[in-house]
Amino acid sequence: MNELLIKNACVIDPLRGINAETMDIAIRDGRIVEEVSGAAEVIDAHGALTLPGGIDSHTHICGTKVNFGRYMSPEDMRAGRTPRRGPLHATSGYSVPTTYGNSYRYSVMGYTTLLEGAMAPLEARHTHEEFTYTPLQDTMANVLFDGNWGVMEAIRDGDIKRVAAIIAWTLRAVKGFGVKLTNPGGTEAWQWGKNVSCIRDPVPYFEVTPAEIIRSVVEANELLHLPHSVHLHCNNLGTPGNYTCTLGSLGLIPDLNRKRQTLYATHVQFHAYGGSGWRDFCSKSEPIARFVNMRPQIVMDMGQVMFGKTTTMTADGPMEFNLYRLHHDKWSNHDVELETGSGIIPVIYRRKNLVNSIMWAIGLELALLTKSPWQCLLTTDNPNGAPFVRYPEIIALLMSKRYRDAEFATVHPDTAARVPLPAIERELDWYEIAVMTRAGQAKALGIQDLGKGHLGPGAEADIAIYPLRIDEVDPSTDYRKVIEAFGRTEYTIKRGRVVARRGECLVDGSNATFWVRPKVSDAYDMGKDPDFIEKFDRYYTVRMRNYPVQEEYLNRNRCIETEAAI
């Protein structure tokens, strides 16, 4: 029996409505309990800010495209390296760190759970292999269905149950957690070098539209009773004027789930652009935020851009090619048969660049204009907007108008005429930050009942204690202290064990992988469906029996079974 008692913790635990109460937290065998024996090890938090472990609900840390980002970028690997030390392995990389690099740096910031935003089913085994070497966080992966032939054919045939059945079979086969649509239809069109411009463009050959894909997959997702909603990367990312496309996509979504949102719209900053071209490019955060404020069925994440060098990587292959034509740096692309694709290019976001400055402002605006923090979560779409190590700065920007103004003074001078940011007075408080970095994620992912994102009895003892007393620090003026504190926990506790302390990781951990197995009736078991099997055999280059990811690839196997309505 392993016991730990954290005393004098200033706890903010939004899922339980706890806002800055000083309390003790008792832990036994990795879970939070009512009380522990006198023999428990004691940590005195001395009133420091104590939150549930951070959860990143959209990050790119493991898998084929992430690894290719490393593979093609020795310059990025050189930009961040640490030696082997004690139980810690060597790390490399700044914007796309090695798996250990990701894990250690997230842990030092208090993050204990990560969702890989995009996993191509055919290459899922790779993602799971990298998860194994991401030792200090629990992991889960969204599975890409944007260009799935079987799904598109079923949609064309008007058979939503078959869409659900294919999703169920695939999630189970690849040990995936959620359903991801990246530029739905566009990734298939890109395998012909084409794209879809918005939600009404038909996909070549399949003759379904992105709107139909989004609607059908959302319905199918709810038929399967998946913990998470559909996770959407809208069409038309990164183009001036794309906000109308984004509003059109969000407008497709009915409110189908009482426990959580029906759609998770990711990195919305990249989808909130006005203007007819780069010359009149401007922020359209206001109409987007207004729209989301009226629709509880939508949760988004920021996709904040921070200035500096990073690597962009997404399943949205055509978008990356367009970026490549703007940047003229190196470009990688990787289309995946019958399923999806991906693209990668390095970028530098510059303060002196007007478009980049506007992008920076838009992310912050979305967070500040969305009334409920539960509906706009903090991300950079790591590493697309910036590497996750920039999160503390984003927290400080959201909490301090003064910091925003100071930064705003350094960006392109024409920015003020294109964005509402300077007029926004709102400063987020500690509670709202706690929602946007852990509680909101747990709710949106539907994992709070598994003991994630809160500190109630029975919860997993994933805890971050930050070296900061909220009664002593005024974030509005002391924003440097906020950045410092969120960059380096006093203690990061994972499954009841201290894994990082004051910027140093202490142990080699062992993560758990969460995945979903929807239980469907025999009639909807695609593993027995002759048409599905025949198409698989004819058009995939991997045998159907060799496709599923074996349980050997799951370190700590956390299977979530759902009772599907098919």
Partner: protein, 427 residues
């Protein structure tokens, strides 16, 4: 007993539709595999147990003794080299990386003598590629450049290109054009619709000429480029631009000839240029069945695909300095671990002279040319035959191999883990 959907552990095609017939724990027949794969499945010339060099002969030793010897040798080395890795499964490669890190060694894989230059080119300009099934289902134009799949990747043509059915091709054989570019008329050239014969060393110039034509600068092209006529170059460029989906597959004929990584860079830039007109992709014809996996494992664990030097604790990468051939040629390394490869059959003489002077441990199921250079050889189970593990196909698709025989041989991973555990105890 017939094992279906077995995975062939020979070349980078990683065919996973093999049927292996087993009787009395021996492979008696192999269906679907090419000659290379069949030979590998049928091969029985394995080492029985670990052997230690003893004067001019060999002495049989136990696994415990061999593993202890290997661990001690590497622990006492100042600059150990851990080389090979392409002929084993990913789980073993991961242990290899941890081991290199622990003993501050250099870990390198066979890419440094095959597609290393391709990787350098990708690090300069990126890599527009795709999985093999995308080509199979869509490509109406396939170009083999400096590669001869009929000999080296026999089923590449039948599974993915020339003879493969494809979803979007009504009659794949008729509708798909194949161009072969090489310095000699290979067997693959004989089944091509168009053969472009280049004078040795002329690849870079021909690629540049094609890029110029694609960019609309045909008038700048001389009458012949490296032995190829302007007419043919224009014809090839037009075939490329007119294709709905084009795929280039290049081999070491482009990678390891004059120009090396600059050839690959030029080829990738041609494909990037063509991508402005139509859909085009390019990929390397990787050799060993899991050489790409070794690059992948190294990359997620260290940040670099090959040639990683841990001597200063951090992962340091400088191909040409931290690659096996260079470290051996400079006589830097003082002990070597060879896993799943046969450097003695491929390395320059100078490297082998040094290899003969230092203690060498080889982990490999078969006696090979490197056996003659090693002090200890530890036989292991063969991944895909009597060991299970992960391999990455040439296009990055990871597949778990199947076990078709059960033997008492330990896997590479087991042997390496036991070595690593001993080393951890000592450090």
């Amino acid at each position: 007993m017939i094992v279906k959907d077995a995975v062939c552990p020979f070349c980078g095609c990683l065919c996973d539709d093999i049927e292996v017939e087993v009787e009395g724990n021996r492979v008696v027949a192999v269906a679907n595999a090419c000659e290379l794969g069949t030979t590998k499945f049928m091969c029985e010339e394995r080492l029985k147990g670990p052997i230690l060099r003893d004067g001019d002969g060999w002495k049989e030793i136990t696994y415990d003794e061999a593993i202890r010897y290997a661990a001690d040798t590497l622990l006492s080395a100042e600059r150990p080299l851990l080389y090979g890795w392409s002929g084993t499964h990913g789980e073993a490669q991961c242990v290899g990386v941890h081991m290199a890190e622990l003993i501050r060694g250099v870990i390198d894989n066979t890419s440094s003598v095959c597609h290393g230059p391709s990787i350098l080119a990708i690090q300069e300009v990126g890599h527009p590629g795709c999985t093999l099934g995308v080509v199979k289902n869509r490509a109406d134009l396939v170009i083999y450049w400096g590669s001869n799949p009929i000999d080296a990747h026999p089923r590449h043509l039948s599974r993915y290109t020339r003879y493969a059915d494809g979803f979007f091709l009504e009659n794949a054989f008729r509708d798909r054009k194949v161009i072969v570019v090489d310095i000699r008329r290979t067997q693959t050239a004989n089944i091509a619709d168009e053969f472009v014969q280049i004078k040795p060393g002329g690849d870079y110039a021909v690629l540049s000429a094609l890029r110029a034509i694609v960019q609309g600068k045909t008038e700048t092209i001389p009458r012949t480029v490296a032995g190829v006529t302007r007419e043919q170059l224009v014809r090839v460029a037009n075939l490329c631009k007119g294709a709905k989906f084009g795929a280039v597959y290049f081999g070491v004929g482009l990678t390891m000839t004059r120009g090396k990584y600059k050839n690959i860079r030029n080829a990738i830039e041609l494909v990037s240029e063509l991508s402005r007109h139509t859909k085009f992709t390019i990929s390397a014809m990787r050799g060993h069945y899991n050489v790409y996996g070794s690059n992948e494992v190294n990359t997620w664990m260290t940040g670099y695909p090959f040639g990683i030097d841990f001597s200063r604790g951090i992962a340091f990468y400088n191909p040409g300095e931290t690659t096996a051939v260079d470290i051996l040629a400079r006589k830097e390394c003082d002990a070597a671990l060879i896993v799943g490869s046969d450097p003695a059959a491929h390395f320059p003489r100078r490297c082998l002279e040094h290899l003969a002077d230092i203690p060498v441990i080889q982990i490999d199921p078969y006696p090979n040319a490197t056996t003659a250079f090693c002090n200890v050889q530890i036989p292991v189970a063969v991944t895909g035959i009597d060991a299970v593990g992960t391999a990455y196909r040439m296009d990055g698709v990871p597949i778990r191999t199947r076990r078709v025989l059960s033997t008492d041989y330990p896997s590479d991973e087991e042997v390496l883990l036991r070595m690593y555990t001993l080393m951890q105890g000592a450090r």
